[in-house]
Amino acid sequence: MAQRESFDEVIAAAAAGADWAIAVLYDDLQPSLLAYLRSHERAEAEDLAAEVWQGIGEGLSRFEGDESGFRAWAFTIARHRLIDWRRRRSRRPGAVAGDEHLESVAGVEDPASMAMAWVASEAAVRRIREVLPLDQAEVIILRVLGDLDADQVGRILGKRPGTIRVLQHRALRRLAETFSREGVTP
């Protein structure tokens, strides 16, 4: 968090309902949160993110911890919302993913480069999910998009940190072997 205020000041103000403090937290967390949700449910990511923020708002006054702890807590909520949403979806026809999110970059300074970065990111995440088993992919996605360490990912997924390290090691090796077989030049 690059703001002048310390995280403790921000979180205390946010817990009291200060709009400015909540906006600081939102600006810091929303991009990675949205990228993570989009990696799972591209079409529903925006709505899921809104649900996650609602959950953050409901529990913020009881939150205790530092900045990395806040990030891990937010991703834990995000994961739970994903699971809830998939449970609901299983009872109704599936939604088709679209490119609606690209429309939102139209108003930014350099929409072309941002759109390119966005597309490249989504392609990379898609590749990770294609190549890796579910558990390895989830570890890599949470670590890379969530900017979380192995311990935090372990708490979110209910696994030991050592297990997370083993999974990420296997994931990288599998990706390297796949690229080698496909003839991709490093």
């Binding site: 946010a14 817990a15 009291a16 309902g17 200060a18 709009d19 909540i22 906006a23 939102y26 600006d27 929303q30 991009p31 990675s32 949205l34 990228a35 993570y36 989009r38 993110a49 809104a50 923020w53 609602q54 953050i56 708002g57 409901e58 529990g59 913020l60 006054s61 009881r62 939102s104 970059v105 139209a106 108003g107 930014v108 970065a117 966005w118 490249a120 990111s121 392609a123 990379a124 995440v125 590749r127 990770i128 890599i140 996605i141 670590r143 890379v144 998009l145 900017d147 390290r165 990420q168 090691h169 990288l172 090796r173 990706l175 390297a176 072997e177 690229f179 080698s180 991709v184 490093p186």
Partner: protein, 278 residues
Amino acid sequence: MSAGDALEPDMTRFALDSDSVERIVRGAVEPADAPPGYGEVARLLQDAAAGARISDPGTARAATVAAVAEAVRSHRALELTSPRKSMITKAKLAAAGLVGALTLTSGLAAANALPGAAQQAASDALAKVGVSVPAPNDHAGTHPDTRGKSADHPAGTPQTDASNGSQPSDNKGSEISNLAHTTDATGVDKGAAISNDASNGKSQAGQHGPPTANPAPNNASPPTPASGNAPVATPNGGGTSTANTASNGHSSTGTANADQHSNGAASAGSGNADAHRP
């Protein structure tokens, strides 16, 4: 070439230490600087991470922040009232616990399944509110409702009777020792009494003649306990003649020797003993 042979070079080629794994995952390794075989992996992860750094252009930002602020404030308001709610909840839980405990106790009392004292107390208490449950001795019939007390049995006293042959007493040895020290019987009678007590009445000691524990070394004839009789008529008037008869004359010889070696003092002793006989 087997599948194992094909995998072996890959295992060596893609070997990666944990520190390198950590640095690649954190995006701290440029693709060009990555370990052999991992350049494209590093690039892939960097591309993926870039998506998490793209700011939300803000269509939903203001609305989301406002909604979160509202959620925070409403939940704070709820929590400010929570102490009262908490007290009410605690009171409800306590009441529920009390009702549960009373129900359980009453049920056990009705089933006469409580310990005696508790059953009596429950019976008395419930009788006051018009509920009839059995007292602890309702099923005792004519048997007294008395309980054994440990005070009735002094410490160290065994609970089983050794004389009934059911269980040996824990302090049988001390009983026998006590008998040996306190009985008025002597000799064979004393041994028989002790033996009888030790064997719970099974011993026949003393019923078949005198003991022959120390036969003469050269006496080849076996003891004759079956006869049950001494070799002389007993009692007789003179111990010396009896001893003489019983020892085939050795006793008299011994007396003479004793007299000889005591310069007549032995005979004098006998005379003195005769003089003081009651």
